[in-house]
Each structure stands twice: as structure tokens, then as C-alpha cells.
């Protein structure tokens, strides 16, 4: 790793000023599990590193008045995995965090880092999008909010302009009778990045027979996380029969735009979108064990 300047500002303003002042080549540091690795492997050459971890308020999990939650960008995956509040209100996120990296990585890696790194395979993105999360962005011109669905522009590219930071994720209040699951297909039992990730969220009616709302979001099969409304629509307002579940899975597989790379072929990825979507729905409808 080459020489770089290092700053550890204590306020958000200071951090933003540093990033603006140093322009391209200045990188914010959160958990470092992506940034340090990329720098070490020579994929990135940071001239300036701005450590955000001394800034208070970026690593809180805070309930909001509307019943939602504000998830600080620097909250680690380990904290999400073990937070009682998360487990109670958004078990889908706690469950997703546990499927990422390894214990050591989860202790360092942050939710904000996972999103800002904007890998197509980022595990946190599909479930957060399914939950209707919003990105809170602070920059030289103040704060703005963007639906997380619109946050990703391409691999490694986000809504953030230089000098802007993702400071938090806002989650709307959990909806009643809602169940979600994130299925991640990997070869090993840990450490691998997703070959395919599928988040499914269903809101059931009072009788738990019909879905009033459905969200299906795919990871690792397009340049950005991919929501599949055409698969969601099959599931809403009618009994969740096996036929409908299969049709939703087929539509999800069709919607995927995967590529061939060293991890997997596009063919296999598309196959797995179908299998995982179907399994996620089976799991949510029949409480069958997660696979």
C-alpha cells in the first residue's frame, strides 16, 4: 500500500470539508474491509483517507418517532446481527447481516460501507430496498434523502457526489403481518460474496392467506440491485399457490441480467434466481426451513 495522508475528523462538517478540499483521491474510511483491501491490492490508490469513526452519532441504531428506525451508516454488521431492536422490528436485516463475511469481518464492516461500495452483490442492499429504506446523504449543501432503490447507479457507483457522505439509513415503521427472508447463494459456508442474493418481503392479510404487498429484490444479477415488480405483482391479492410462486420465480429469473465472471456463469446465476426466489416464497408461506 502506498503512502497516503490520513485524517480523523471529529465532526461531519470537518469530514466533508476534507473530502471537498482534497477532491478525487480522497476516500472516506468506515470499517475498511473494502477500502483497505482495494488499496492493498492496488485497485485503488488513495492519496487521502478520512476516517469517519471519530464522528459521533454515525453509529447509532435509534428509534424514530414514527415507529421507524434510523440506522447510522457506521453501524457494524455485527451490531445489526445482535441488536435486539433490529431483531424485533427488522429481523430480515439481522438475519442478512449474519450471512455476510465472517465474524471478524462483521465486527469491522459497516452497513454504510456495504452500500457505498456498491458491489452488485452487496448483501445489505436487497433487503433494505425491500423494506423501503431511504438513504440520508449529507454534503457541502446540506442534507438530502433518496430512496435506496435509486441510490445505486452501477458497480461501484452511487448517488453520492464527491464530498457527500451517506450518514444513515432510514427505515419506515415495520408493517404488520410482514415476513421477509434473504437467501444468499454461495459455494462455501462463509466468506464468499453472493453468486445470487434474493430478498423477499411479504405482507399478509389478516387471515395470513393472501399477500397484500410483496417485494422481490435481487442481488448480483445486474449492475445494481434489481427490484422485480413483474414478479411481485403475481403474488399480490390472490392465494399464494404453488403455481403463483413458480410463476413469480420464473419472472424473477427472466428479469435477471447476470454476467459471466470468475464466480459463476450467467446461466447458473439465472437458474439460481429461480430456485432461490421459489424457495424464499415457500419458506415465507409454509414456514418451511430456510435453505
Amino acid at each position: 500500500m502506498r503512502f497516503f495522508e490520513y485524517y480523523a475528523p471529529k465532526t461531519l462538517d470537518e469530514a466533508i470539508q476534507l473530502l471537498v478540499r482534497h477532491g478525487e483521491g480522497a476516500y472516506p474510511l468506515a470499517g475498511g474491509t473494502d477500502l483497505v483491501t482495494k488499496a492493498r491490492y492496488g485497485h485503488l490508490r488513495p492519496r487521502v483517507i478520512v476516517n469517519l469513526k471519530r464522528i459521533p452519532g454515525l453509529n447509532d441504531i435509534a428509534p424514530e418517532e414514527d415507529g421507524g428506525l434510523r440506522l447510522g451508516a457506521l453501524v457494524t454488521l455485527a451490531e445489526i446481527a445482535r441488536s435486539l431492536l433490529m431483531g424485533e422490528r427488522y429481523p430480515l436485516l439481522a438475519q442478512t447481516a449474519r450471512k455476510m463475511g465472517s465474524v471478524l469481518i462483521r465486527n469491522l464492516a459497516t452497513v454504510g460501507g456495504n452500500l457505498c461500495n456498491a458491489a452488485p452483490s452487496a448483501d445489505m442492499a436487497p433487503p433494505l430496498i425491500a423494506l423501503g429504506a431511504e438513504a440520508v446523504i449529507v454534503g457541502p449543501r446540506g442534507e438530502r434523502r433518496v430512496r435506496l432503490e435509486k441510490f445505486f447507479h452501477g458497480p461501484g457507483q452511487t448517488e453520492l457526489r464527491h464530498g457527500e457522505l451517506l450518514t444513515a439509513i432510514r427505515l419506515p415503521p415495520p408493517r404488520p403481518r410482514t415476513r421477509g427472508v434473504y437467501l444468499k447463494h454461495i459455494y462455501r459456508q462463509a466468506m464468499d460474496i453472493a453468486i445470487v442474493g434474493v430478498a423477499v418481503l411479504l405482507q399478509f392479510d389478516e387471515q395470513e392467506a393472501i399477500a397484500e404487498d410483496a417485494r422481490i429484490v435481487l442481488g448480483a444479477v445486474a449492475p445494481t440491485p434489481l427490484r422485480v415488480p413483474e414478479a411481485e405483482s403475481v403474488l399480490i391479492g390472490a392465494p399464494l399457490t404453488e403455481d403463483r410462486r413458480l410463476e413469480a420465480a420464473r419472472r424473477a429469473a427472466r428479469a435477471a441480467r447476470p454476467i459471466d465472471d470468475t464466480y459463476s456463469s450467467a446461466w447458473y446465476r439465472r437458474e439460481m434466481v429461480g430456485v432461490l426466489t421459489r424457495r424464499a416464497l415457500e419458506h415465507l408461506v409454509s414456514h418451511s426451513p430456510e435453505r
Binding site: F3, T37, Y41, S102, Y187, R188, Q189, M191, T262, E271
Partner: protein
């Protein structure tokens, strides 16, 4: 045998606590005053002529102390094939070939200097397919050779052609076995320093300290006697250290040119990109059997891709030949192989050394033959298992052999008969069991002029024993094994022994750690040295106790009369009595052991090892038929190790070997495209993590080898050999699909299932 006091005990390695507490000094930790950092500029092209190298800007960079190219080095070649110079002057033959090197006051400056070196290349047509490399019009990789064929060899016993006609059933398969990396945690490392008199010290993670002296001497023209190799604690090796690489002479030459010590350590990416991989092999094989269950014939044609240069790894074909020719009794066999140059990454020694490939072929086809004659695959194996004290047609003189016991135990413990008969299927999840055996050299392997190891045992006047052994410790436990052997012989506690095994200026010669040879060879050398010490102790004790040596024994730190154990003298007191008197002597014993094994003849026959280890692995797997994902649920690994000097480390070797075998079977694959390695990080390479390691039950079978130290044979590589075959057989049992290419990825399984139309 309960008469042992130290042999068979689970004693921790001498370096266990320093390793666990982080106090051990690995190569990467070593710093010496005035040390510089070396870096190598590598070719981005797989095959190209070098037109011009301009290093002037790098030389002018502040902090750079030396820049070298091929012109600076003596024009000497090195390596098993004598086919390379440390730095390449005329042309490059692979991506990553060494073109220039720099030494600077820190790594950043060294890296920056590399960027300032301009190299002009003229790209040449390259060849990446070993079959294509054999065509007459293929680009010639080494101009001084007539073709890209490095070696062609044929091995025959019996009459394979006739036998293939006679056989009641014949199976035929093509196997495609990919590259894997040994991928030790510690990347390759070298530190070189010249003293004022011009003598060279090299700190190294080599497995062959004494051959490294010789290799460096040949590559650089420095007399071998002026080279001292010190081995740092080695953070894994698995065969990587069996050859000298270009970076080692480069590091030495940088130190010479800079007049300062130079350290050169690979980045993780370099480790994946340019350190030696396991040979990828394409194997076409046939095997035949009789309906009554007799294995009748085997035939294999092997295409081995050496890559751009040939290393000791090319000898893997001998091991493969031995597996195909002698694992199970097979009256007729033929192996034909071509080992070929390509512009692919270089390949070398990796644990198992050709045996995982050979065993995969043999054991997949054993299953196929059993099926073809309608016999249980275990039964078929047992009928044809090698027997003790039997010479194979290949000239392999088997002595102790517990193969039958290994097969029976592995099968029994996995629940063979119940599970095999009814592979289960629940929803998308199918389960199955598979078995595979292995034979591995267990008493050295003569591939060099000497297969020996030396040992010196000295005792100070406080009774502390120091063992100087040539045996290299790469984490396998040779240190504790040697200590236990000496402790047993001298009747003292292992804590009273210091082992020195890391310095060619101090320790006696050894050929290196390979071929699972160290327990057997270094153990025998240590035993011989200890016996000399014992004789000296007994000679003095005879006088002190007034009894003949035959009546005395060394036990629990005393010399005592066997029949009257209360008459005893402390060990250290005897030592002093011998030393501190007129005409006294210090106690020193030395041992040299070179086994009575043979180099294989040109016909591929001969008794290459003084004894052979055997083992069998049974694996239960779960296959998800919708995703193709295979999960090993349990492994039983039973091994005839002669005697377990330290069962804890025998288990450690087998467990580690098995996990390495599981990686080979299911997930590890060095992906190479047009000579370039694509997956350069542990993350992308998919070595099994601890989460992927299933419970492994190890069964130790003791056969008390007559030639082994206290009956022991080698075990280091055996765990890796049969795993991929056992997994493939278990997958077949579960879902009826055969995958003959490694690794067996979920995608391959799913494709195969779809093609079959399940």
C-alpha cells in the same frame, strides 16, 4: 505396546506455545540492520521478446539502492529443467516472468521504482493448451529444444492390450483436473545478506535448505560453502518450498549489488499469480475387471501441463504412475505420459505430488468397474487390496500394509452397508456415501542422489540434550516426533531436549521435506544418534553401577538396573562422571540414515520407498439437486501409519490433508485464462474455511513397520490423496451423476443433472 514411555504420547510441539501466543518469528517478521526491500518487475505478457529495458529513471529515484536486469547476473540457468535464468533477458515465457528487480529503503519506493522501468516487448504467439503445444506448428517456448515436449515416458507391466480384450468389463473416462495452489498463509519470502568476507546468509521459508545452498550456488556462481541457509519459522508450505524460485537468486543479487541486506516477500497476489501450482492434468483412462471381482488391467494416458518452466513438480508423473500401477493388485498396466511446456503459470510440488490426480482416476474407475460387474464397491476393493509383504509387478516391495483394515474401518464407521444400499432423498436434498483408498510412499522416496538425513545428539553436563537435525519443520510436527524418539531412547522427558533444525551451518545434511519422509528418515537418523549417546551413557554407568550394559536401562531420567530398579543414577550424573575426569569425554552421538530404496529405472520400475503408507477415506455428502451444491457431512479417514509416534499430530496431518483434499474436490480452482491467473485473492480462490470443514473422524491403524523408527511410517500427504475421489463417488451414490473434472462445482453438478434430465 505399553512398554513405551514417550512414544504414542500426545505431546505438544516445541513451537506450539510460541505460535499460539504470537511469539514465533516468521520470515516476514525478520528485520536486520540496513535492510532494503526488494521488488520484482514482472512480464504482463505470456510470450514476448524483450526488445529493450530502460531502468535509468528508476535508478535516479531517491531511496533506490539497486536495480538489476538479466545483464547484471551471471549467464547461468537453474531449475529442474535447467530452462530459466533468474531474470529474463531475451524473452518472457509466461505472465509474471521476472524482468527486472529493485531494492529500495522501503516498499513504497521500490514499487514506485518498478513503475519507472520501461520495457519494450515484441509479443509472440503463445500456446496455452498442452495438446496444441505438441503440434509441430506450435510456437516454440524454449528455442534450444526441438519441441515443447519436455518428457515422454511409458510404463508397462503385464500385457495391457491383451488384458483389455480379456477383461469381462472395461470402463473408459476422460478426466480434467484443474490447477490448485498450495496457498500457505505466509507468502514466499527471502532475506539475503553478505558479510564483510563475502559470505552469504539467506533467511528462507524453503523446504530444502541444503539443496537451496546448491541451487543458489549453481544459479549465481557463489561457492556453496560460502552460503548459509537459515530457515525462519515457516507459515505453511505444502510443497511450495521444494524448488528454488527466481526470486531467491534475485534477492541475493540485489543484496550483492546494493551492498546491503535485502528482503523480498511476495504480496498475496504474487503468491497466487506466480508461485507454483499443482499440475493441471488431462487424463484418458481405461480399466478392466473380471466378473468374479478380479481387477485385471489399467491404462492411462496423461497430459501434464508444466507451464513455462519445469520444476521438480514434473516428477509428479512418477507418483501418478505408481498409483495407477500399484494401488490395488493389478496384473496388467500401462501409463503413458507427456509432460509439456506451455505459456501457462509454472507448476510445482503440492502435497500429494501427483497422487491426488492418480488416485482420482484409479478410485473413480474402481467404483465404475464394481458397478459394471454388479459388485459392492467396497467388496471389490477388498478383494483387490494390496497385501502385506508382497511385491507389485512394478517392483514396489510392500512390507507392512493395513489397507484392508483401513477400508473396513472407514466403511464401518461411515455406516457403509446401510447408507450405500439406500441413498436417501428428502425434497431437493440427496445423500450418499463414497469411499476411496490411497497408497503413498512412507519410507522416503529416492528422487535425488541421496534420500538421507543426518542427526547429531549432544548432552551438556546438566543433562540437557540438544538434537541437531537436518529435518525441516513446516508445521507438520517433525520437531516433536524427533524429540519423542530421542526422549524414548534416552529415557528422559521431552522438555529436557532442545531441537535445532533451521541452519545449514549447524545441522547435518538432509535432502528436504517431501514425500512424507521426515518421520521415517529423520526419525531413523535421530534414533541412530540417540543409540550412540545411549551406548556412551551405558559404558560409564557400567562402571558406576557395577553391572553390565545388558542389565541396564534408561528410564525416567535415570540409568537403572532393570531387575533392581532401586539401584539407579540420575542421567545427568552419568554425563558428568564421563566428562569430568582425567581422559574424560563429552557425550555426542551422530546418526545418518539413507534408506535402501531405489531410484526408478527408465522403465518406471523399482522400489522407490523403503516402506509404504496406506489409507482409506469414506465420505458422506449431501447434494442439493436444485442448486448442485455439495456439502460434505462427515469424513472417516483411516490410515496405516506403522506407529503413531504422536497421535495428535498424526490426526492433525490427516485432518489438514483431508480439508485440503475437500478444497481440491469441491471449491478450489486457480482460474487461468490465456496464461493469466484470474483469481488472485484468498477470497476469490475459495479455499475451504473452518465452516466448510465437516467432522473428520481419524482412525489410526498401527502395523509396526520393521524398518520404521519404533515402527513408524510417513503420513504427511496421505490425507489429501483420496478425498476428491471419495467425494466424487459419494456424489454418484447420491444422485447418479459422475463429474470427472475438478473441482466439482455446484454449476457442474447442476449442468450434469440437467443434461441427464432429472
Amino acid at each position: 505396546m505399553s512398554t513405551f514411555s514417550i512414544i504414542g504420547k500426545r505431546i505438544p510441539k516445541p513451537d506450539a506455545i510460541p505460535k499460539a501466543t504470537g511469539q514465533i518469528i516468521y520470515g516476514h517478521d525478520v528485520k536486520v540492520p540496513r535492510m532494503l526491500y526488494g521488488k520484482i518487475l514482472r512480464s504482463p505478457l505470456p510470450h514476448a521478446r524483450i526488445l529493450h529495458i530502460d531502468t535509468s529513471r528508476a535508478e535516479r529515484l531517491s531511496g533506490v539502492k539497486a536495480v538489476i536486469t538479466a545483464k547484471d547476473l551471471p549467464p547461468r540457468r537453474f531449475g529442474y529443467g535447467r530452462d530459466r535464468t533468474p531474470l529474463k533477458g531475451d524473452k518472457v515465457r509466461r505472465c509474471g516472468d521476472e524482468v527486472a528487480a529493485v531494492a529500495a529503503i522501503d516498499e513504497d519506493i521500490a514499487e514506485e521504482a518498478l513503475e519507472l522501468i520501461r520495457v519494450e516487448y515484441d509479443p509472440l504467439p503463445a500456446v496455452f493448451d498442452p495438446q496444441a503445444a505438441l503440434r509441430p506448428d506450435a510456437p516454440l517456448i524454449h528455442e534450444d529444444r526441438e519441441s515443447n515436449l519436455f518428457r515422454h515416458q511409458e510404463y508397462v507391466h503385464g500385457e495391457p492390450d491383451r488384458a483389455l480384450e480379456e477383461a469381462d468389463v472395461v470402463v473408459e473416462d476422460e478426466f480434467d483436473l484443474g490447477y490448485v495452489q498450495p496457498a500457505p498463509l505466509e507468502t514466499s519470502f527471502c532475506l539475503a545478506a553478505f558479510d564483510a568476507s563475502g559470505k552469504l546468509t539467506v533467511w528462507s521459508t524453503t523446504q530444502i535448505p541444503f539443496l537451496l545452498q546448491k541451487d543458489l550456488s549453481e544459479a549465481l556462481g557463489i561457492p556453496g560453502r560460502d552460503i548459509r541457509v537459515i530457515q525462519t519459522a515457516i507459515g505453511g508450505s505444502f510443497g511450495r518450498g521444494l524448488d528454488m524460485y527466481s526470486f531467491e537468486p534475485i534477492c541475493v543479487w540485489l543484496a550483492r549489488k546494493a551492498g546491503r541486506p535485502v528482503r523480498l516477500a511476495f504480496t498475496r497476489q504474487e503468491e497466487f499469480a506466480v508461485s507454483e501450482a499443482r499440475q493441471s492434468m488431462r487424463i484418458w483412462a481405461r480399466a478392466g475387471a473380471m466378473r468374479d471381482g478380479r481387477l485385471w488391467v489399467r491404462e492411462a494416458k496423461v497430459l501434464l501441463d508444466n507451464g513455462a518452466y519445469v520444476s521438480w513438480g514434473t516428477v509428479t508423473t512418477l507418483v501418478l504412475m505408481e498409483t495407477i500401477g500399484s494401488l490395488y493388485r493389478v496384473p496388467h498396466a500401462r501409463v503413458v505420459y507427456d509432460s509439456v511446456y506451455t505459456n501457462n503459470p509454472i507448476t510445482g510440488a503440492v502435497r500429494g505430488f501427483g497422487n491426488p490426480q492418480g488416485t482420482f482416476v484409479v478410485e473413480v474407475q474402481m467404483d465404475r468397474l464394481a458397478e459394471a460387474i454388479g459388485m459392492d464397491p467396497l467388496e471389490f476393493r477388498l478383494r483387490n487390496a494390496n497385501r502385506p509383504f508382497e511385491e507389485t509387478p512394478q517392483g514396489i516391495k510392500i512390507t507392512t500394509c493395513g489397507l484392508t483394515e483401513c477400508l473396513e474401518e472407514a466403511a464401518r464407521r461411515i455406516g457403509w452397508s446401510e447408507k450405500r444400499a439406500a441413498p436417501s432423498r428428502r425434497g431437493a436434498i440427496a445423500r450418499g456415501v463414497g469411499i476411496a483408498a490411497t497408497m503413498n510412499v512412507g519410507g522416503g522416496a529416492r528422487i535425488y542422489r541421496s534420500d538421507g538425513c543426518g542427526c547429531i545428539v549432544k548432552v551438556d553436563d546438566f543433562g540437557r540434550v540438544t538434537v541437531l537435525t537436518g529435518a525441516t519443520e513446516i508445521g507438520q510436527g517433525s520437531d516433536v516426533v524427533v524429540v519423542q524418539i530421542v526422549a524414548e531412547e534416552l529415557g528422559i522427558r521431552p522438555e529436557e531436549i532442545t531441537i535445532v533444525n533451521d541452519d545449514t551451518a549447524v545441522t547435518p545434511w538432509d535432502v528436504g521435506v517431501h514425500a512424507s519422509r521426515t518421520t521415517f528418515i529423520a526419525g531413523n537418523a535421530a534414533l541412530r544418534a540417540a543409540r550412540q549417546v545411549k551406548a556412551q551413557i551405558l559404558e560409564t554407568a557400567e562402571e558406576l553401577l557395577g553391572a553390565s550394559a545388558a542389565e541396564l536401562e534408561l528410564r525416567d531420567g535415570y540409568v537403572r538396573i532393570r531387575e533392581a530398579p532401586e539401584q539407579r543414577i540420575p542421567f545427568d550424573k552419568v554425563v558428568r562422571a564421563r566428562h569430568f575426569r582425567q581422559g574424560g569425554q563429552v557425550i555426542i552421538g551422530h546418526g545418518w540414515y539413507d534408506p535402501h530404496n531405489e531410484m526408478l529405472g527408465p522403465d518406471g520400475k523399482g522400489n522407490i520407498s523403503a516402506t509404504y503408507g496406506f489409507g482409506a477415506q469414506a465420505v458422506e455428502v449431501e447434494v442439493d439437486v436444485e442448486t448442485g451444491k455439495v456439502r460434505p457431512l462427515r469424513v472417516v479417514s483411516a490410515h496405516d501409519v506403522g506407529r503413531a509416534i504422536n497421535p495428535m499430530y498424526v490426526e492433525g496431518q490427516i485432518e489438514g490433508g483431508t480439508v485440503m483434499g475437500l478444497g481440491y474436490a469441491l471449491s478450489e480452482h486457480l482460474q487461468v485464462h490465456e496464461g493469466r491467473v484470474l483469481n488472485l485473492t484468498p477470497f476469490d480462490y475459495r479455499m475451504p474455511t473452518i465452516m466448510d470443514a465437516p467432522p473428520i473422524e481419524t482412525v489410526i491403524i498401527e502395523t509396526d513397520d520393521p524398518e520404521g523408527p519404533f515402527g513408524a511410517k510417513g503420513v504427511g500427504e496421505m490425507g489429501t490423496n483420496p478425498t476428491a475421489a471419495a467425494v466424487a463417488n459419494a456424489i454418484y451414490n447420491a444422485i447418479g451423476v459422475r463429474i470427472n473434472s475438478l473441482p466439482i462445482t455446484p454449476e457442474k453438478v447442476l449442468r450434469a443433472l440437467k443434461e441427464r434430465g432429472s
